[in-house]
Symmetry: C2
Subunit: 343 residues, 2 copies
């Protein structure tokens, strides 16, 4: 079994200008890549014989955390440690940094304690999330839930980010269907911004902004417990959100019935995106609430899924301003996505 | 002469969840691209005969704003309108949106008034910024300055973002050396965050954070009026800042002597990056102060240049959290960059 790569301990730093946490993680530089250079989304012809995520290749992976079904060699989903983790799962006993004390006063520095796991979504290299049954997608969602609950028992972990990279230009270095999860010792800046904004809306209107997400021109699909919409101010062309109808703050409150329902809608959404946008590289992110959110915060925080196809890169304008340029109006994207025929 | 592309008026929207301004600009979808798919930085072998930015092809461009030297067919720098602008330079008289009023209450919406220009940095397709003399780089910087001063006379314009995309994976659609400038009717979110952070440091320490930028382990190069450093919490491997030694809030205060000095340091920095990192795609951004900044804001705001080589893409973690993972510690990057031999 491959053992986690040794290198200098990760650090989290924030400076007094951008005020943004950055994880410094030299171990990450060593990870392998299925991609030589930027290229379109992977096809199922990528050679599976060298893929450590394929069934039968478990010994090439970092240690397993759990699998579904448990103890079964014929697994459907595996959650494993990331072999090149951004954070270190060992608590630091003797903290040291190479920075001089003058620099330290200028910014913030935290030891890089945390968890970075990989969720292998299918045993077979070429079987993607959208190929699975709604029940099998639900198993992947349940693997996220189970692992989040494990991380929640560690008081040092403040937030868990679940995300998926599919295709090289969406950042993926591995083609085998997988997603990732990072348990962070801080609440990240976008989460703070999102929650502050939702709190402001709640204070002004008495309503949860996600319960009242605009659907008039923006609805794409509906299931029993979820809806999919193009967001009102989508940052990216054809960005989609999947939103629970009920007011629920944490993703990990998902039950079996809702997981299957969500699995079905997620599958339909990915298939539509693939058909309409010619198998684009994409990311998805689960936006949930901090693990230790207070009761008063739960009133305005409501989890949702964000799916972003990569149709064009971002440039210096977005890097500089944090403001995005989207050439497609959300109501136009929603109309197109509503009309995709997947039968 | 090509005339600006007709399409639905741009809009700026901000929702009550992400609280982030997005520019919806259908005209942008129509712009041409020198790149078929994601590929490495352009080489000088790209066919210049079809490039509208080349000398002699001025009639294929959107209208010129000015050139250096003025009225000279043998120009060195041209500032032109962007043919596919993100914002509209006409004030809207009869504002209309296709959104229903319910949706409008949920977010913010602004008419997309503003300016989007292109700065052609050299008349010759294959002559890049780093090939120019410090004096010629200074002319490009002076073109930025002159255009910012023109935009500053319009009270509706709050902030000007100058940026450069070089290479496809840095977002560039055109290979001819150019940069861009957007005059915005709002102060963008990253600027607000940056200024809030610098203000906090000032309130706590009585000092400008950029005047006191850490250099101990992080300095790369120095000129008479500027220094280059790897920032304390660089978001990207080998990210560099060029910082004026004197406390100056606005880039457009640059005088002739400092422009040539900066031109020299910028040239050296780009050459070092190209040598050390194998001609990477890159972006640069000028971080300045809002046009109408108050006197009290000027005390803590200090402009600087940010240069970001594109060595790896970002993925769902960064999109979801706004937190970056950088595999290279800043002090290590600074050491490497200090030691690059450009003679
Ligand atoms: N004949 C002509 N006359 C005048 N102007 C012409 C022209 N032909 C083309 N142009 C303009 O020239 C510009 C060239 O700009 P870049 O190559 O730096 O990237 P672009 O703006 O396309 O997009 C990148 O940068 C933006 C902003 O960061 C991102 O939104 C985007 O995703 C990324 O690909 C384009 O904006 C284009 O509209
Ligand atoms: N044998 C093995 N056992 C266990 N784990 C293994 C392994 N071999 C590889 N791995 C891990 O598997 C993961 C695969 O992840 P992805 O393909 O989604 O993108 P990656 O994390 O490389 O980077 C993308 O996503 C991150 C986060 O968004 C961005 O920082 C980055 O720029 C972008 O390229 C890697 O993190 C790698 O460390």
């Amino acid at each position: 079994m491959a053992s986690p790569v040794e290198s200098r301990r990760p650090e989290l730093r924030k400076d007094s200008v951008t005020n943004r946490w950055v994880i410094f993680s030299p171990a990450r530089a060593k990870r392998p890549s299925d991609f030589k250079s930027k290229s379109p989304a992977p096809s199922s012809t990528d050679s599976p014989q060298t893929c450590p995520f394929c069934i039968g290749q478990e010994h090439h992976c970092a240690p397993e955390i759990f699998r579904f079904p448990p103890q079964n060699p014929d697994w459907k989903v595996r959650v494993i440690q990331n072999l090149y983790p951004a954070l270190s799962r060992d608590k630091d006993l003797d903290s040291s940094t190479s920075l001089s004390s003058g620099s330290l006063l200028w910014g913030c520095l935290l030891d890089g304690y945390g968890f970075h796991d990989v969720i292998i979504e299918s045993p077979v290299h070429s079987v993607h999330l959208s190929d699975l049954t709604p029940e099998d997608v639900a198993q992947v969602l349940f693997a996220y839930k189970k692992r989040i609950l494990q991380l929640a028992s560690d008081d040092s972990i403040k937030y868990v980010q679940v995300f998926k990279n599919h295709g090289a230009s969406a950042g993926a270095s591995m083609t085998h269907p997988h997603s990732q999860m990072v348990g962070l010792p801080v609440i990240p800046p976008s989460v703070t911004t999102r929650l502050d904004s939702m709190k402001q809306y709640f204070n002004e209107t008495g309503k949860c902004s996600i319960c009242h997400v605009p659907t008039k021109d923006l609805l794409v699909d509906e299931s029993v417990h979820f809806i999919s919409v193009v967001p009102y101010a989508a940052s990216f062309p054809f960005e989609l959100w999947i939103v629970p109808r009920d007011h629920v703050s944490h993703f990990h409150e998902l039950d079996q019935e809702k997981a299957v329902d969500l699995g079905g809608l997620l599958k339909v959404t990915l298939i539509k995106m693939s058909l309409q946008l010619n198998k684009p590289p994409f990311n998805f992110m689960i936006h949930t609430s901090p693990l230790q959110a207070s009761d008063s915060d739960l009133a305005y925080s409501h989890w949702f899924f964000q799916i972003v196809p990569h149709l064009s890169g971002v440039g210096g304008f977005e890097l500089g301003t944090g403001c995005y340029i989207n050439p497609v109006f959300p109501e136009d994207a929603a109309k197109v996505m509503r009309e995709v025929n997947i039968s």
